[in-house]
């Protein structure tokens, strides 16, 4: 009966014509020659019908098969060919690895995250007076959360291939958020009676961050080096020359040039966007990113604030020294993230066992974390050594616990980033929120509170990531 059953096809009916064909002696029937011609098809055929389809496509029909090969029809010939040629499928060309990445881009990113730090010491003249730290902090919190949300919206549209829509959302997002940052700075400045130069610097910082976000989303990081050049060069020169008062105005102008240049590039790159209304869903999807930006800024900046966090009355040099390499280390985090994804993708193609994937992917995760932490320790050591050599700081061993706390925070940020790229957005966000709340509540305890909060966060995120990311379906 049913020729339609798979078994019927795979145990071919031996027809009269086939019985007449001597199986042991090849060549004379011409079938071997045909098998050779169709070697690729036969070697990867999943059943005889696949060969039959190819034979028909090559122009053979039942009459031709009867006349040339003595088989009753194309199907019988295909069955014989399937029997003769062992199936040895060729692996398809592997698709380009989306997680392949050199050192250049992440290193550039790390540099871009940390270079702006050079501008602060040069700007101490502008930042005198009451409320200066407050307006800087307000600007940082507002622009970090704003730029994270903006980047999310931008990538969302880029991912959908809407180039014109991406440009528009970035352009208007930048301008609206800038207005928001400026407003927040003005309110904070008025309350704390901050001086105008401090407020201007704070707005400039926000403008730089927002325009840098636009350039990064559009993959124009190299332009950012040009943007940073006036501020960083002038700032460094000013510091090296011992802050001569005659150059203060020129330095301030150079510092101002950086955000203005950034904004100009951002506006230029986003020209010609198309009007594409922002949907409520898009905005809603960007909220967790914005909240994460805010929490990250709080966790990093809070301990630095004099009289607020663990730093005592002055700006804490240990905290500052650790915070700078932390921004450098975000380049390492990016590289390690790609490394992790690449290794997991390879593992996914290399095993057919769920249990094995679970074990080995957990090891890859731990290795990635260790890799990130080691690199960050080296960066911290390098920055401290450099600062000591330049006589900028006099490190004390008492700062060590705080450096460790920042290291733990770095590790936690790395894991949070990794979890977000794998689609786990809520839990890292809540965990960061809880950690910050704990740090804030216990602020009277100083560094131990910071250490406990960031260490706890790192531990929790490590366990959570190990539990969630070992599921193969997450890597699809």
């Amino acid at each position: 009966m049913s020729a339609g059953t798979l078994s019927g096809l795979q145990q071919p009916v031996v027809t009269g014509a086939l019985l007449d064909t001597p199986h042991a002696a090849p060549a004379p029937d011409g079938v071997d020659e045909l098998c050779e011609q169709l070697a690729e098809v036969c070697g990867s055929a999943t059943d005889p019908l696949e060969i039959a389809a190819s034979l028909e496509f090559d122009g053979l029909n039942d009459q031709a098969v009867q006349a040339k090969y003595g088989f009753p029809d194309v199907f019988a010939l295909a069955e014989e060919m399937h029997r003769r040629v062992p199936v040895r499928p060729v692996e398809p060309e592997s698709p380009p690895d989306p997680w392949r990445q050199g050192f250049g881009r992440p290193a550039l990113h790390g540099l871009l995250y940390s270079l702006p730090a050079v501008c602060f010491p040069a700007a101490t003249g502008l930042l005198g007076g009451p409320g200066a730290i407050t307006v800087l902090l307000v600007s940082m919190l507002a622009s970090w959360s704003g730029s994270q949300g903006l980047a999310h919206l931008g990538y969302l549209r880029l991912g959908r291939g809407e180039d014109a829509g991406t440009k528009q959302v970035l352009r208007w997002g930048m301008l609206v958020l800038l207005a928001g940052v400026a407003g927040a700075v003005w309110v904070a400045g008025t309350i704390t009676s901050a001086r105008t130069p401090a407020m201007a610097f704070a707005v400039g910082q926000g403008l730089y961050l927002l325009s840098a976000t636009v350039l990064m989303v559009l993959r124009a990081e190299r332009l950012l080096l040009v943007v940073l050049a006036p501020g960083c060069l002038a700032g460094t020169g000013f510091l090296l020359l011992g802050k001569p008062s005659g150059l203060a105005l020129a330095t301030a102008c150079a510092l101002a040039a950086t955000p203005l240049l950034g904004a100009a590039f951002a506006l230029w790159l986003t020209r010609g966007g198309a009007r594409l209304a922002l949907s409520g869903n898009e905005v809603l999807a960007a909220v967790p990113s914005a909240a994460f930006g805010l929490l990250a800024a709080l966790l990093i900046a809070f301990p630095v604030v004099p009289g607020w966090g663990a730093g005592g009355s002055g700006v804490n040099p240990g905290a500052l020294l650790a915070a700078i390499p932390l921004s450098l280390s975000m380049g390492v985090a990016e590289w390690t993230l790609y490394w992790y994804r690449r290794r997991c993708a390879r593992l996914l193609r290399g095993t057919g066992r769920v249990g094995e994937f679970r074990r080995r992917s957990a090891l890859i995760l731990l290795a990635a974390l260790a890799q990130y932490l080691t690199a960050t320790v080296v960066l911290v050591a390098a920055v401290v050594a450099g600062a000591v050599a330049l006589d900028l700081v006099d490190p004390q061993w008492t700062s060590a616990p705080q450096v460790v706390a920042y290291l733990a925070l770095g590790g936690a940020m790395f894991l949070a980033l990794l979890l977000q790229t794998m689609g786990c957005r809520l839990v890292p966000l809540v965990a960061c929120g809880v950690a910050f709340a704990a740090e804030f509540a216990a602020r009277g305890l100083g560094v131990p509170a910071q250490l406990a909060a960031t260490g706890g966060l790192l531990l929790f995120l490590t366990l959570y990531a190990a539990a969630v990311l070992c599921k193969a379906i997450r890597h699809g």
């Binding site: 798979l6 190819s54 122009g59 066992r353 769920v354 994937f357 699809g476």
Partner: protein, 480 residues
């Protein structure tokens, strides 16, 4: 009567032979209401055809766009899904004769599940992944040519999820279901049969499964995924044939595959495509220079290389001869057009070969040649041949699909990929005016007798009524 018409990638969103046929059918039966269910790629496609008033509804089922709305199933929903998925994998890996029946049963259960829960959501759960991996990877025999990886599991789950999207849509209201393709297009038809008990007619112009086998050769998938998915389609097509009250292929040649896949011979009736004779009156005159005319999409499956090579041989014998090619490449295939031009130039017939592009009135294309040629590697029952025949132009065509049935002895049928045979046949006709006239006249009378659109429509009108009344016709052996 209410007819549910199921299409995949054709009517009413795309142009092409199958869509022309659907349009003829719908317009030819204004007394019936048609509910079209169209499987489409993303769901943003717009109808390419103007829909007549008796098209009561068009529902698009996107296979690759956003899934049907619905949350991931809850704990109970997930628990109910796992045994179904396990049974699906087992049925697909089963080599015993009970596999087709198992497949049919589990597909029906999946349909019932999809009507209550989000099937897509169920496919995307961790439990589903683990169950699938355990059954497929860990049990694949040691002797298998290639073992599936977890990445293959992800790919296979996605393919199955997207392929089964139609099961989540509400079954269309109808007295008779007419799937104008087998394979995935049969799924929405089966849902109507299972839910409302309505009879099913399956029409195929090509052979769905054969096309899928050919397609899979170029696919990006590893062997285990390819094997599993082809098995799925194989079972699905066989199920389509088994569940159909009536199978109406567009030519007799196709019935070989249908019977091979388990179609009952008494349920197969060939119904040929037809054209409207009023649109294709006979020509009185012939062009001056000896001309070969070709009409179609400029596409590798039409094998224009063989045609151009054959024409180069014709041109050696008849230096005045010309080849006129009417048609344009589909989007993205412009490279093939260039390739053909280059080949013609290389063979020294670049001047005598003209690429005319699309024509406003297709008749002009047939009128342009003494002979109309078809060089395709694969065809169902090509309109260009029966249209040329209706105009009284003799055809030279490759022996593929239903071409021999259409032409019979009113033209010359040659083997495909054979430039010498094609050129010999063209030369015979180009040199013999008497023969051309005689064959042209017999071609026209054959077309008027067998291949008119009215006949096709009358046949289906009759079949709809009889199938709806449960009078399943007992046709002898599908020889139409």
């Amino acid at each position: 009567m209410k007819i549910a018409m199921m299409t995949e990638g054709t009517y009413p969103h795309q142009f092409g032979g199958v869509s022309v046929w659907c349009d003829q059918l719908v317009r030819g039966m204004p007394e019936h209401d048609f509910h079209v269910v169209a499987l489409v790629a993303t769901g943003v496609e717009r109808p390419a055809w103007e829909l007549p008033a008796n098209v009561a509804s068009v529902v698009s089922v996107p296979l690759w766009g956003r899934g049907p709305a619905g949350r991931k199933p809850g704990r109970t929903g997930r628990r109910r899904f796992i045994p179904l998925l396990a049974e699906l994998v087992d049925a697909l890996m089963d080599d015993s004769p009970s596999a087709p029946a198992r497949f049919g049963l589990v597909l029906r259960k999946l349909f019932e599940y999809a009507q209550e829960e989000s099937l897509s959501g169920a496919f995307a759960t961790e439990e589903a992944f683990d169950e699938f991996a355990r059954r497929w990877c860990e049990r694949s025999p040691d002797g298998a040519p290639s073992r599936p990886s977890l990445h293959d599991v992800l790919t296979a789950l996605q393919l199955l999820d997207h392929s089964l999207r139609a099961l989540s849509h509400p079954p269309a209201p109808a007295d008779v279901v007419h799937a104008v393709t087998n394979g995935l297009g049969v799924l929405p038809a089966l849902t109507v049969k299972w839910r409302h008990g309505r009879p099913l007619i399956v029409t195929e112009h090509g052979i769905y499964l054969r096309e899928q086998y050919l397609h899979a050769r170029k696919g990006p998938y590893r062997w285990p995924v390819k094997a599993l998915y082809l098995r799925f389609l194989h079972h699905l097509c066989a199920l389509g044939y088994r569940e159909a009250a009536l199978i109406t292929p567009g030519n007799v040649y196709n019935t070989r595959w249908e019977r091979r896949l388990g179609a009952r011979p008494e349920s197969v009736k060939t119904v040929y495509n037809g054209v409207n004779p009023a649109d294709f009156p006979a020509f009185d005159t012939e062009p001056e220079a000896p001309t070969i005319s070709w009409v179609g999409r400029i596409d590798p499956i039409k094998d224009l290389e063989t045609l151009i090579r054959a024409f180069a041989l014709v041109h050696q014998a008849l230096p005045d001869a010309r080849l006129r090619l009417f048609g344009s490449p589909p989007g993205g295939r412009e490279g093939y057009l260039r390739q053909c031009r280059d080949l013609a130039a290389e063979l020294g017939v670049g001047g005598a070969t003209t690429f005319e592009g699309r024509v406003e009135n297709i008749r002009d294309a047939y009128e342009a040649g003494h002979v109309v040629v078809l060089s395709s590697l694969s065809e169902g029952f090509p309109y260009s041949v029966i249209e040329a025949m209706t105009c009284g132009r003799p055809c030279v065509a490759t022996d593929v699909g239903g071409v021999r049935e259409a032409i019979d002895d009113t033209g010359i049928v040659v083997p495909p990929r054979n430039p010498e045979a094609l050129s010999d046949a063209c030369l015979i006709l180009l040199r013999d005016t008497e023969l051309r006239k005689r064959l042209g006249a017999t071609a026209r009378s054959r077309a008027l007798q067998f291949f008119t659109v009215d006949q096709a429509i009358e046949t289906f009108d009759d079949l709809y009524v009889r199938v709806a009344a449960g009078l399943v016709p007992g046709f002898p052996d599908g020889d139409g």
